[in-house]
């Protein structure tokens, strides 16, 4: 199967050389298949958020190689890394990371601000996404006035605005009840049917026990425990 992302012996050390040196992950080699839903499963501290960040070009590994669309990004200069990140990935953070004080529209369009995309096109895309996520009524509301579920949908909308090939979600259901978690999964599966590759880092059985999960990578203590193709 076509791997959109592949890692080879990736390690990440934080605060290297200092007293509080942390080996977050070591020698991780995985493959993420195009168009599938992959779950990084494991307890907190197992290194799945770190791995997600590395895959998404948020930082560079201490050792190893990361191939995105066949290209090694591990040693890319910052500028090019940003470019890959912007064009390939959409992030949904655990704490949503919306910018307070801005409206739903502004938050969603934020990733496109520094790009050369035409303003009209940008707004059309935003309207379309807001419509899909049932946020049109809230478009001019400031994000801090929204409920948790609505905030997450804004975060999803923001992750989609770049039309990325891969959506990365870090503990997306950590702050949601069962009903909202199900809603989230519905959105994710519909994105998947549109052809998006989805990677979710979670320890929520509600997610990884779903039958439509294509691939589960289980992590423990910074290493891959088992890669199972379901």
């Amino acid at each position: 199967m076509d791997a959109i992302i592949r890692t080879e012996g990736v390690s990440k050390v934080f605060n290297a050389g200092l007293a509080d040196e942390i080996k977050a992950i070591s020698a991780v080699s995985i493959e993420i298949s195009r168009g599938q839903i992959t779950v990084l499963k494991g307890p907190s501290g197992s290194g799945k958020t770190t791995l997600l960040g590395l895959i998404g070009c948020m930082s560079r590994p201490t050792e190893g190689k990361i191939f995105v669309e066949g290209k090694d990004v591990a040693k890319l200069p910052e500028r090019f890394l940003t470019d890959v990140r912007r064009k390939t990935f959409g992030f949904i953070f655990q704490h949503f990371n919306l910018i307070r004080g801005l409206t739903v529209m502004e938050n969603v369009m934020l990733p496109l601000y520094p790009t050369d995309i035409d303003g009209g096109q940008m707004e059309r895309r935003m309207e379309e996404i807001l419509d899909k996520l049932d946020l049109t009524a809230k478009r001019a509301v400031r994000v801090e006035k929204l409920s948790g579920g609505q905030q997450q949908r804004v975060a999803i909308a923001r992750a989609m605005i770049n039309e990325p090939a891969v959506i990365l979600a870090d503990e997306p259901t950590a702050h949601l009840d069962t009903k909202l978690s199900e809603d989230f999964l519905n959105i994710v599966t519909s994105l998947n049917t549109e052809g998006k590759t989805i990677v979710i880092a979670t320890h929520d059985p509600l997610i990884y026990e779903k039958p439509y999960i294509d691939n589960i990578i289980e992590m423990r203590d910074g290493a891959v425990k088992e890669a199972a193709l379901l």
Binding site: G53, M58, D83, N97, L110, Y113, P114
Partner: protein, 384 residues
């Protein structure tokens, strides 16, 4: 509008989100600019006008010194002076000071001669007889006297003169004439009880301006007790006086500048956790370091430029339309007769640029620099 334009828009949104904070900064910034540029504007206007005027002063003023003090000068010196090569017209001046206990003000009394009769900046005319005088606008106002009114000057018990005001110098000449009381030479000499063969000082014109210092040396050799004051010394003195940038600005407004600098420094040395987190978010969603720094540049530039222009406008209106009302108490000192007149609006664009580079540029730098570190760090920090 693309890329950069949208970053400006976003910078404005960011500023608007912290309305109160940024508005307060803008108010303080504008006020500081207004104060500093008021001083610069006023100083420069006064200085330019003064130097333009005093460029027409006599080439040499000769004082007689005695016991380290300025002493009346014998008019017989004139004969010797006219023998010095290169010397042009030589004229004795008769003038002095008068403390008016009625109004608690110092006046400058001066004698006129026939050549001064066609002075035009005067309502009425210059005095021609020993019972006439002309006064400056400030003196007339202080004494609440008008044309044809009587004007008393008293010294001691017996010595007094009663003059008729035949002219009042116009207000727009106040920079030169505000505290003047001019009268004929005879009545001045009588009033001051000056010996008939002495004058206050002597002005010496020099035919060739290049020879001034040489002539001055010759005069000193002829009269070792005398002190020639050259026009270029006089100009230098005034140039120096008006360079208060070193004096008043740094002392009187040192507090304001220091406070502003501390504030800028405070901004420069750290950004708060929320700002750092927002920078991380922007990076995580695909902004480049350069985009983040562009954003911070605009955040600083918007506040600083807006405040700077506002401050300049306020300063201009304050100085040239309201005669620098707020600075007057500082300028006035103990002067009872401080002239109130509209300064001539001489503007030095160079000064404005200097002020710009000393205020706007550091402010913008202080907005950008601290964000630098946050902007170059990996954005995965926001995930933790």
């Amino acid at each position: 509008m693309k890329g950069n334009g949208r970053i400006i828009e976003y910078a404005l949104s960011t500023l608007a989100r912290r309305k109160f904070k940024n508005f307060s900064i803008a108010v303080v910034f504008s006020a500081l600019i207004a104060v500093l540029s008021s001083i610069l504007f006023l100083t420069h206007a006064y200085k330019t006008e003064t130097l333009k005027l005093l460029d027409n002063s006599p080439e040499i003023i000769l004082q007689n010194m005695s016991g380290g003090r300025h002493e009346l000068i014998p008019t017989e010196y004139i004969k010797t002076l006219s023998g010095i090569a290169g010397v042009g017209q030589i004229t004795p001046r008769y003038w002095g000071y008068y403390y008016d206990s009625l109004t608690s003000a110092n006046y400058t009394l001066m004698a006129v001669d026939e050549n001064m009769r066609d002075i035009q900046l005067i309502d009425g005319r210059m005095p021609q007889t020993d019972t006439e005088c002309a006064v400056g606008r400030g003196v007339a106002d202080l004494r609440q006297a008008g044309l044809k009114d009587d004007f008393f000057l008293i010294t001691g018990a017996e010595l007094s003169v009663n003059l008729k005001i035949v002219g009042i110098f116009t207000a727009n000449s106040a920079i030169l004439t505000n505290d003047l009381v001019v009268m004929t030479k005879d009545s001045l000499i009588k009033f001051f009880n000056m010996p008939a063969d002495k004058a206050t000082d002597i002005t010496v014109e020099v035919n060739n301006p290049a020879e001034v210092s040489m002539v001055a040396r010759k005069i000193r050799r002829a009269f070792p007790n005398s002190r020639p004051i050259l026009k270029n010394e006089l100009i230098r003195t005034y140039d120096n006086i008006f360079n208060w940038r070193g004096g008043i600005v740094l002392t009187m407004f040192f507090g304001a500048i220091a406070a502003f600098m501390i504030f800028v420094w405070d901004k420069a040395t750290g950004i708060n956790a929320q700002e750092r987190r927002e920078i991380g978010i922007l990076k995580a969603i695909g902004w480049e370091t350069a985009d983040v720094l562009t954003l911070k540049f605009w955040e600083g530039a918007v506040v600083a430029t807006g405040s700077f222009l506002t401050g300049l406008i306020l300063a201009y209106v304050h100085v040239f339309y309201f005669n620098a009302q707020f600075l007057a108490p500082v300028l006035k000192g103990w002067s009872v007769l401080f002239p109130r007149f509209q300064p001539m609006p001489y503007i030095d664009i160079y000064q404005i640029f200097v002020l710009f580079f000393l205020t706007v540029v550091p402010y913008v730098a202080a907005s950008v620099v601290p964000s630098w570190k946050a902007a170059i760090s990996d954005p995965d920090a926001v995930m933790r």
